[in-house]
């Protein structure tokens, strides 16, 4: 028996008039994955998430959460899904605790205080539990949004730019918490514009551009495929380096791309033989930003 995908998206399109916010998007996120959904502004990330949550009805295609169709079996689909929205929305009439109790109730849990306290603790919100939503700072409101998405212990959690406008300390706290949720078996889908964040957290990544998936692979494979290691040097005789294929950068630095470390050996040997005179040297790891720029450029 095969396990159903945590999220199965099958040729989903969403058209707003002539605008194709999503076009024939298909992808599966498997249970337990930490999945990144990347793309420039307007790529369709939020639209895709809204379609998973039933907030937006696809023009065509279908989506299932843990095997439950978002349309025909919406009750079960929604029970499996927790969504942290991109916008900082809140209900100004209530306190944090009231809001979380109400949200629990919407999902069918009349008494949920133990779990609510646990979430509040993890998100450092206990001191603010009885504060009105209006009295919270932006970062705290963001945390409440995370808490609201978790009240019903959804196996699948989707976070739409959860770290936008969040300070460094909280960002680290938040990632620790989300990593813990992932270790505990929750499937995580994340969108972010901080690519080093995505690189550090996500096991697999889909890149969206103009409503289409333009790259879909494990983070490792993407890095291997698109990004190269780089060796940057400052030389006594820069023209020697240029002749060997170095690219001039600011401050007299020259950059060389390479695939394997064996290539570095060869390069260093040639520089020495030519008497280039290495004054300074750094090695650069491949990073997702490079991959992103590359993919977006060629897509």
């Amino acid at each position: 028996m095969s396990i159903p995908a945590a999220i199965r998206i099958q040729s989903v399109s969403k058209h707003y008039g002539a605008l194709k916010a999503l076009h024939e998007v298909s992808l599966d996120v498997m249970p337990g994955e930490f999945f990144g959904l990347l793309g420039p502004n307007g790529a369709g990330k939020t639209t895709l998430i809204s379609a998973m949550a039933g907030l937006v009805r696809p023009t065509s295609g279908s989506i299932a959460i843990m095997g439950h169709d978002v349309g025909s079996d919406y009750r079960n689909a929604r029970r499996q899904l927790g969504v942290v929205p991109q916008e900082l929305v809140f209900d100004p009439f209530f306190s944090v605790r009231e809001l979380l109790r109400i949200q629990s109730g919407y999902f069918g849990f009349a008494r949920n205080d133990d779990w609510i306290d646990e979430i509040l603790g993890h998100l450092d919100l206990l001191p603010k539990a009885d504060a009105n939503m209006r009295a919270l700072s932006g970062g705290m409101k963001r945390r409440v949004l995370v808490a609201q998405a978790l009240v019903h212990r959804p196996p699948v959690i989707v976070l739409d730019e959860p770290t936008a406008g969040v300070d460094v300390e909280l960002r680290h706290g938040l990632w620790q918490f989300i990593r813990k949720l992932n270790r505990d078996g929750h499937t995580i889908v994340l969108t972010t514009h901080y690519l080093e964040e995505a690189q550090a957290l996500c096991g697999r990544i889909a890149m969206l551009k103009n409503g289409q998936v333009v790259a879909l692979d494990s983070t490792e494979a993407l890095l291997r495929r698109f990004a190269t290691h780089s060796l940057r040097v400052r030389l006594g005789l820069p023209e020697v380096g240029l002749a060997l294929g170095g690219v001039a950068e600011e401050g007299g630095w020259l950059a060389f791309g390479f695939e394997t470390y064996a290539d570095v050996e060869v390069l260093l040997k040639r520089l020495r033989e030519a008497g280039a005179g290495i004054e300074e040297m750094t090695l650069g790891e491949p990073d997702l930003e490079q991959v992103f720029i590359e993919v977006m450029h060629h897509a």
Binding site: L55, D91, G105
Partner: protein, 263 residues
């Protein structure tokens, strides 16, 4: 986390109940504005009209004008506040974006409808009761058939609650909502016989009143107090019930399609 712990069973009924509770709590938290203000309003109407007209006008033979007026005022306040409850709640949630918290959970569109309309009825009944209570020191008000009173109060509240859901979903800005209120709800209420018996109108206007469903709500409601009315209470009940069913069907159809709520 999920597997380790015995997760309490989720029950669908709780979702509806919570939404109803939240909608009631929302107006109750600001009851000074949502209940107090309309009651004060009605009281002012009552003081002014009764002072000006009471000695000169009687209705249904020997009923003093102020006495006749009170059920109309009660019903008018009830209807307007039932409308205000669902419509303002929905438009606020839409504009601030927090409507998603109701759209993400496994709440069906029928539960959604029932919760918003019932909360409207509750607010309407609170306001109506408030108006009734503050009027009592001024008049001797009979209540011949309390069940008729209650039936029309609930149905009227449900009709205006439904209209509020429609308006709240349709409107994208507050001024569109007030247009709905000023150009539809207010005229229909004012021309329904809140302040007069339609028998005191010229025949043409009597006929016009008879196509206004609000007339039947108020006339039936008044029957419960005095045992007298312009038309049979059964006719009023029939008209009002049909209106409610039609509005419920329309609203449910909008919600089922996700009109303006699920893009």
């Amino acid at each position: 986390m999920l597997e380790e712990r015995a997760t309490p069973r989720a029950s669908g009924w709780v979702g509806f109940r919570t939404l109803l509770y939240k909608e009631v709590l929302r107006f109750w938290k600001v009851s000074f504005q949502t209940v107090g203000a309309p009651v004060l309003n009605a009281l002012l109407f009552l003081l002014i009209f009764s002072h000006v007209l009471d000695r000169h006008v009687t209705v249904y033979g020997d009923i003093a004008y102020t006495t006749f007026l009170v059920p109309g005022l009660v019903m008018m306040s009830l209807l307007q506040n039932a409308f205000a409850n669902s419509s303002s709640s929905l438009i606020q949630s839409k504009i601030t974006g927090n409507i998603i918290f109701v759209l993400l959970p496994p709440i069906s569109y029928r539960e959604f409808y029932a919760a918003y309309v019932l909360a409207s009825v509750v607010r309407g009944l609170f306001v109506g009761l408030g108006v009734l209570l503050v009027s009592l020191p001024f008049i001797e008000l009979p209540m011949v058939y309390p069940w008729w009173v209650l039936a029309f109060a609930v149905l009227g509240g449900a009709i205006l609650g439904s209209m509020g859901v429609i308006a709240g979903i349709w409107a994208e800005k507050f001024d569109q909502l007030s247009a709905f209120q000023n150009f539809l709800i207010m005229p229909l209420t004012m021309l329904s016989g809140v302040f007069y018996s339609i028998h005191s109108l010229p025949p043409l206007w009597q006929d016009v009143s008879h196509v206004n469903p609000f007339f039947f709500m108020i006339d039936g409601f008044r029957y419960g107090f005095f045992g007298q009315s312009d038309v049979s209470p059964w006719l009023s009940l029939g008209v009002v019930s049909v209106c409610f069913v039609l509005l419920a069907v329309l609203t449910l159809a909008m919600l089922a399609r996700g009109y303006k709520l699920r893009g």
